[in-house]
């Protein structure tokens, strides 16, 4: 009989026998288990971009977040460290697995950002790249004969590293976030936060939040995408903490008999995962443990859809060849573009 077949399965598929034979039980809720199975089989994709001047600990933070050497720097150990003359966009992917859940993680690095003497329009190549991923997805989506599962290279999340000046956002920070927050989920973090005392940190955070508000920059989680009251409550708490003051490390030290990730200095050891020391754990929880799916959903159902609308309407506007602002966000001419 049917129950004997179930006993041979390693993981439980149906409810236990008792519930199943209960009068009236249909088994609709078994679909959750079916979805879980499907997800485990297919695996997940996550594409995260890091933006910030060199030396702000971007690679280290990625390695700390994903507890392995996932950043470009870690892979290319022999190459000489040099600051590129223009902004480069470098993507590196790794397959990681945890408790049977497989993930293809792609870290997109942007060396050269903010490192030049003249950083005008430094946001443009990044905007172009992000839109190029949307374009690639769109092209595949509108194919007649299309793949069963369209490979997703769209940037789900962009971590923007703010140097710990302690004062306020710099013009380059505002420029970048103002333009990019319209096309991608931006999570700003205060890098190398162990150089700020708690008071300095709080003051800085407040100033940053004020600057963001004043410039109408919508960072993730965006207020307008809160789905319901419960969502809003959770997200408000997060919004009150942004930007997260983080410290990264891939070195373990012995603290109180435990081996912890940290940075050892003469005056003490900064524990990365200690929430009284820095906010790394909150960032990790947000990005990975609680909101990863939501981040991907906002990317696909809002940012991508907006790109698609712009792109499909593009052919209907300016039929007589007037200079258009392309959907990739950068104008034909070398003029600082207006927002679309």
């Amino acid at each position: 009989d049917i129950w004997s077949l179930y006993r041979n399965i390693p993981t439980p598929v149906a409810r236990n026998e008792k519930a199943s034979s209960e009068l009236g039980y249909v088994g609709i809720d078994a679909i959750l288990e079916q979805m879980r199975r499907k997800a485990m089989k297919q695996g997940f994709e996550f594409n995260i971009m890091v933006v910030g001047q060199s030396g702000l600990g971007k690679s280290t933070l990625m390695n700390t977040l994903f507890k392995s050497k996932v950043s470009r720097r870690s892979v290319k150990t022999t190459e000489e460290e040099r600051i590129p003359k223009t902004i480069e966009i470098k993507s590196i992917s790794h397959d990681i697995e945890e408790k049977g859940v497989r993930m293809k993680l792609t870290v997109i690095d942007t060396p050269g950002f903010g490192d030049q003497i003249n950083n005008e329009n430094c946001w443009q190549p990044i905007m172009k790249f992000i839109n190029a991923q949307y374009e690639q997805y769109l092209q595949e989506e509108i194919n007649i004969d299309r793949k069963k599962k369209i490979p997703d290279s769209r940037v789900h999340c962009c971590i923007y590293f703010i140097p710990p000046t302690g004062h306020c956002l710099r013009p380059i920070d505002i420029e970048f976030m103002r333009h990019l927050s319209k096309v991608v989920n931006i999570v700003p973090v205060i890098a190398k936060a162990d150089t700020l005392t708690l008071e300095e940190r709080d003051f800085f955070k407040q100033k940053v939040r004020e600057d963001l508000r004043a410039n109408e920059i919508d960072i993730y989680p965006q207020k307008e995408f809160d789905e319901d009251a419960e969502d809003r409550m959770i997200n408000e708490k997060i919004r009150e903490m942004i930007p997260f003051a983080v410290v990264g490390s891939d070195q373990e030290y012995q603290v109180n008999g435990k081996r912890l990730l940290g940075r050892k200095t003469r005056w003490g050891t900064v524990e990365v995962e200690n929430t009284t020391h820095c906010e790394f754990a909150y960032l990790r929880d947000l990005l990975i443990r609680t909101h990863m799916q939501n981040i991907k959903d906002i990317t696909s159902s809002i940012h991508y859809e907006m790109y698609r609308v712009r792109r499909l309407n593009e052919n209907n506007m300016h039929p007589n060849g007037q200079p258009t602002i392309h959907a990739n966000g950068v104008p034909e001419h070398e003029v600082l573009s207006n927002e679309m």
């Binding site: 598929v13 199943s20 979805m35 199975r37 507890k67 590196i92 945890e98 609308v309 052919n315």
Partner: protein
């Protein structure tokens, strides 16, 4: 842009990261949104389609029994909101009313195919929209088609073969033997074998329960061997032992719906709902819908690469189509304008004609009037003449009378005078 690590290499994790919660995150999102499941029941009248649905989902669906007096095959669709623990399901059950009732059944399958295509079309239209809301779209595409086979015990009817052949590339078909309590166990085995071999020899692709996931591979492949499921449906409850069970009570015994020795109802429920509901939805989307979409778009003239093997984007073709359409529209507009001008001309000519007629009529009438007038004048004149003549006579007569009177009166006066003397 430089892409490194193309074939992503694996790296070990040195600690707990936490993305193992992703399946949970995904499931939570789905729970919040709710699920959609659409079943199509195809079968002749009286095979117990409605009853089986009631039994499967353990509820009484429709109020009144369906009317069976319409010509042709009608598809009646009903949507229900079901909930079990925290899962909300929007279930749509579509019934074929009047299937197999006609004398000539050649076109019976057509309305079914049309219905399925209509749902695909609706989804395709939404997908092609510029501003679209796919994540909140109510999916009406048919995820599973339960094909009810009459329990004759012999073989499939030609109507069944023809219909299933037309449907197998459009929907997941799960054939079931309806009212199977009419067949004995031995006959049932033979019947199932006959049906399966007929399906195979006619190239009918029925839905196979997936065996690629090791968790369910065994149960699914076993169940595949039990197709078509011999089912019995019932919403009546009978006391067996000390439990109330759903059953059909006969004088010679009771058929228990959920007893696997009596019928395959439990197997059907397991496969359809508890194990493969998600796969049925996925197959519908990734296989049947994609096929429909590909055919439809090719039909409309879109192609992925043109003969010069230059990649044509749908967008460019869309643009070309749009121009073509605008051109056609303009042409039609021009035609209409010409027709309008023509019509106006014609009408003008008509009116001119009418005007001319009116003038002529007017002239005629005028002349008539003048003639009449003249006649009347003549008459008047003659009457006047008469009158004058009469007057003259009258005056003459009066004069004569007056003269006579005067003579008479003077004579009288003379007489009087003479008397007086």
């Amino acid at each position: 842009m430089v892409e490194e690590g193309e074939g992503a290499r694996g790296v070990p994790l040195s600690g707990h990261v936490g993305f193992d919660s992703m399946p949970d995150q995904l499931v939570n999102k789905s729970v919040n949104h709710g699920f959609c499941f659409n079943i199509l029941c195809v079968g002749e009248t009286g095979l117990g389609k409605s009853t089986l649905m009631d039994t499967l989902f353990n509820t009484k669906f429709e109020g009144e029994p369906t009317q069976h007096n319409q010509p042709g095959v009608q598809l009646k669709s009903n949507t229900y909101e079901l909930q079990e623990s925290n899962v909300r399901l929007k279930l749509t059950v579509v019934n074929t009313v009047g299937f197999g009732d006609q004398i000539n059944k050649e076109d019976s399958y057509k309305s079914i195919v049309e219905f399925i295509d209509t749902q695909f079309e609706a989804y395709l239209q939404e997908e092609l929209k510029i501003k679209r809301t796919l994540h909140s779209y109510h999916d009406t595409r048919i995820h599973a088609c339960l094909y009810f086979i009459a329990p004759t015990g012999h073989s499939l009817k030609s109507l069944d073969l023809v219909t299933m052949k037309k449907l197998d590339s459009k929907v997941n078909i799960i054939p079931i033997i309806a009212k199977s309590d009419a067949i004995s166990k031995s006959e049932l085995t033979k019947f199932k074998i006959k049906i399966t071999s007929e399906l195979v020899s006619n190239g009918v692709q029925i839905y196979q329960f997936p065996t690629d996931d090791e968790t369910v591979a065994e149960i699914n492949s076993t169940m595949n061997g039990h197709l078509p499921f011999a089912v019995v449906g019932s919403t009546e409850e009978v006391k067996i032992g000390n439990k109330m069970v759903r059953a059909r009570q006969y004088p010679w015994g009771t058929v228990q719906v959920e007893n696997e020795n009596h019928c395959d109802f439990v197997k059907l429920r397991e496969m359809l709902i508890r194990v493969n509901m998600e796969d049925l939805r996925e197959q519908t989307h990734t296989r049947h819908y994609e096929l429909y979409r590909r055919c439809k778009l090719e039909e409309m003239g879109f192609k992925d690469t043109d003969p010069d093997s230059k990649p044509f984007s749908l967008q460019e073709t869309y643009e070309a189509k749009r121009n073509e359409f605008m051109g056609e529209l303009q042409k039609k507009e021009e035609e209409m304008r010409q027709m309008f001008v023509q019509r106006v001309k014609e009408k003008e000519a008509e009116l001119k004609e009418a005007e001319k007629e009116l003038h002529e009529k007017f002239d005629r009438l005028k002349k008539l009037h003048q003639d009449e007038k003249k006649k009347l004048e003549d008459k008047k004149k003659s009457l006047d003449d008469e009158l004058n003549g009469f007057k003259q006579k009258k005056t003459a007569a009066e004069l004569l009378q007056a003269q006579t009177q005067q003579a008479g009166s003077s004579a009288t006066l003379k007489k009087d005078k003479e008397r007086k003397k």
